[in-house]
Amino acid sequence: MALLRLENITKRFGGLVAVNDVSLEIEAGESIGIVGPNGSGKTTLYNVISGVYPPEQGRIFFEGKDITNLPAHRRAPMGIGRTFQIPRPFSSASVRENVAVGAMFGTLSGKVSVDECSEIAEHYIELVGLQAHKDKDSGTLTPVEKKLMEIARALAMKPKLLLMDEAMAGMHPRDIDDMVKFLKKIKEDEDITIVSMVEHIMRAVAGFAERVMVMYRGAKLIDAPTAKALSDPRVIDVYLGRPTGEGEDAEG
C-alpha cells in the first residue's frame, strides 16, 4: 500500500488550471523530488496534499485512507508535515515555542504534555543546529535560520511524510550538500518519507532524490528515476533548456 496516492488531481483558480490531472504514488521510505518552474503548480499540489484547499477533481489517499475532504488540521496529526517556500515562523514566539507547537499538534497530539513538547522541541532544535538561538523570537532569525527552524518544527511533528518546499533555495552549494546529507540521515533515523520540491537547484535534486517528478504548466511531464528524468529530452526542452552538468548544477 502506498503511503500517499494522488489520483487525477485537478485544481483550478478561476480560469487558471493550476494542477492538471496529476497522479502520483509515493511508497513509504522513498525520497522524491518535484521539479518545475514557478507557476508550474508545485506549491498548489503541496497545498492540496496538506489540505489548504480541496481539489476540484481527484482523490487523495494517505495510508490507504481517503483524505480528500479532510481539513488541514486533521491531516497533520495523521503524519503529514511540511515546510514553506517562504518561511512562515510564528514570529512573536521563540524558536523553542515554535518547534514545540509542532510536537504539540503533530502525530503526538494529545499524547504529550506541554512540558514534554518543550523537551522534544529542544531535541530537534539541537539536531538542526539552532541551540544558540532557541530563546530568540523566531521573527529575528535570518532567512536560512528560519528555514532550519521550520525543518525542526516539521520534524517535531514526527511526520510519516515530510513535504519540503524549496528548503535549499538561497543556500551555499556547500551548505546544500550538508543539507542533503542531513536529510538522508533524518530519513533513516526518523523513518520519514521525504518529498522535496525545488525550482532549479539540480545539485540538490540529483544528490537527494531517488525519483523525480517534473511538472510543467500544472501537468506531470515525467515521473522517473532521477538520472533518467533529468536527461529526458522533453524536460530539457521545456524546462532545463540544456542538459544538466553544463553549469546549472553549480547554482547557488
Binding site: 486533521r74 515555542e97 507547537v101 504539540m104
Partner: protein, 333 residues
C-alpha cells in the same frame, strides 16, 4: 498530573492589586464607587484581552456581549420575580440567561466573523451589534426602545434593604470576582496548548492549520470565553447594579473602544496590562470629570491618539522588555 505552580506566579501581582483595590474601597469611606468603577474597567480589559490579545482579532462589537449580559440579568429578575420562593437563585438564573444570550450571539458571530480577518471582521462585529440593537428597538422585543425597569421586581423579591445591598455592594464585589476569574483563565490559557495554538493562529493562521491546529476550535474557545466573561460583567455591573436596561445605552460602540484603550494602554496580550490600563483609564476619566466636567472627551481624544502613536506597546509591554532576564521576569507577563 503534576501541577506546575510556578506557571501561576504572574497572578501574584495581579491579585495583590485587586486585593488592595478592594480593601481601599471597602475601608476608606467614600471611595467604594470609584473602586467599583475601576474594577469594572479592569474586568472588561481582562475579558476582552483573552480574545484580542491572544488571537489578534479586533472584536469591535464586543459590547454586544456586555449588552446581552445586561439583558440576561434583566430578564431573569423581571420574569422570575413571579416566583419569590426562588430567592437569591433569581440572580443566578439571570447569570445563566446572560451566558445563554451571549452564547447565542457568539455562535452567530463565530459562524461568520471567525472566517474573516482584518477589516471585514471588525465591520462584521459592528454590524451585528447595531443589527441587534435596532432589531430590539424595531421589533419591540423586551420593551423595545423603552427598555426594561425592574427595581420594583427586585424589591418585591428581596425587600428594599437587601435589594439596596445587592445593587450597591454585591454587584460590585461580583465584578471583582469576575475580574479575578478572567485573570486566572488568561494565565491558564497562556500556559496550555490553547495559548500555543492561539499564538500560532495570531502569527500565521494558514501555517497553523497545516501544523495540525484546529483554528476554528481554538478561536471559538477564546471567543466564547471572552464573550462569557463580558456578559457576566454586563449582568452584574449594569444589569444588577442599575436595575434598568435601554438598548440605546448598552449597545454603544464607545464601550468597546474603552476596552481597546484600556488594553492598549496597559499592553496587549499581557496579563497585568488590562489591570494597569483599567486603573490609568478609570482614574483619569474620573479625575477629568471632576476638574473639567463636560470636556472629558475633548481632552481624551487627542490624548488617546498621542499615546497610541507614541506608546503602542503599553505600560506592561515596556516593563516586560525592561525586566527580561531579571528575577522579576516570571512574575510579569
Amino acid at each position: 498530573m503534576k501541577i506546575n505552580i510556578a506557571k501561576y506566579y504572574p497572578l501574584i501581582p495581579v491579585y495583590a492589586v485587586y486585593l488592595t483595590m478592594f480593601l481601599v474601597g471597602f475601608f476608606v469611606p467614600g471611595l467604594w464607587q470609584l473602586v467599583a468603577l475601576l474594577a469594572f474597567y479592569c474586568a472588561l480589559g481582562q475579558s476582552w484581552n483573552i480574545f484580542m490579545g491572544m488571537t489578534g482579532y479586533v472584536d469591535f462589537g464586543y459590547v454586544t456581549f456586555i449588552a446581552l449580559g445586561t439583558y440576561g440579568m434583566a430578564l431573569g429578575i423581571t420574569y422570575f420575580s413571579q416566583f419569590p420562593g426562588l430567592g437569591i437563585a433569581i440572580i443566578f438564573i439571570g447569570l445563566l440567561l446572560a451566558l445563554f444570550l451571549s452564547t447565542l450571539s457568539a455562535i452567530l458571530e463565530a459562524g461568520i466573523a471567525l472566517r474573516l480577518r482584518g477589516a471585514y471582521f471588525a465591520i462584521a462585529c459592528i454590524g451585528i451589534n447595531e443589527g441587534l440593537r435596532h432589531l430590539i428597538e424595531g421589533a419591540k422585543i423586551w420593551g423595545g426602545s423603552e427598555g426594561m425597569l425592574y427595581w420594583k421586581e427586585l424589591t418585591e423579591v428581596f425587600g428594599t434593604e437587601t435589594a439596596i445591598q445587592l445593587t450597591t455592594l454585591w454587584a460590585d464585589i461580583a465584578v471583582f470576582i469576575i475580574a479575578a476569574m478572567a485573570a486566572f483563565i488568561n494565565v491558564y490559557y497562556m500556559r496550555s496548548k490553547i495559548g500555543y495554538a492561539l499564538t500560532a493562529i495570531r502569527e500565521d493562521e494558514d501555517a497553523a492549520k497545516v501544523m495540525g491546529i484546529d483554528t476554528t476550535k481554538y478561536k471559538t474557545i477564546a471567543f466564547l470565553t471572552s464573550g462569557w466573561l463580558g456578559a457576566l460583567v454586563g449582568a452584574m455591573a449594569w444589569g444588577l447594579k442599575l436595575t434598568h436596561v435601554f438598548p440605546a445605552d448598552v449597545f454603544v460602540i464607545h464601550y468597546t473602544v474603552e476596552c481597546i484603550v484600556i488594553v492598549v494602554l496597559g499592553g496587549i496580550g499581557t496579563l497585568l496590562g488590562p489591570l494597569v490600563g483599567g486603573l490609568i483609564y478609570g482614574l483619569s476619566k474620573y479625575w477629568l470629570a471632576i476638574i473639567l466636567p463636560g470636556f472629558q472627551l475633548l481632552i481624551f481624544a487627542p490624548i488617546i491618539i498621542c499615546i497610541i502613536i507614541a506608546f503602542p506597546e503599553g505600560v506592561i509591554g515596556v516593563v516586560k522588555r525592561r525586566v527580561k532576564g531579571t528575577r522579576l521576569e516570571r512574575y510579569i507577563i
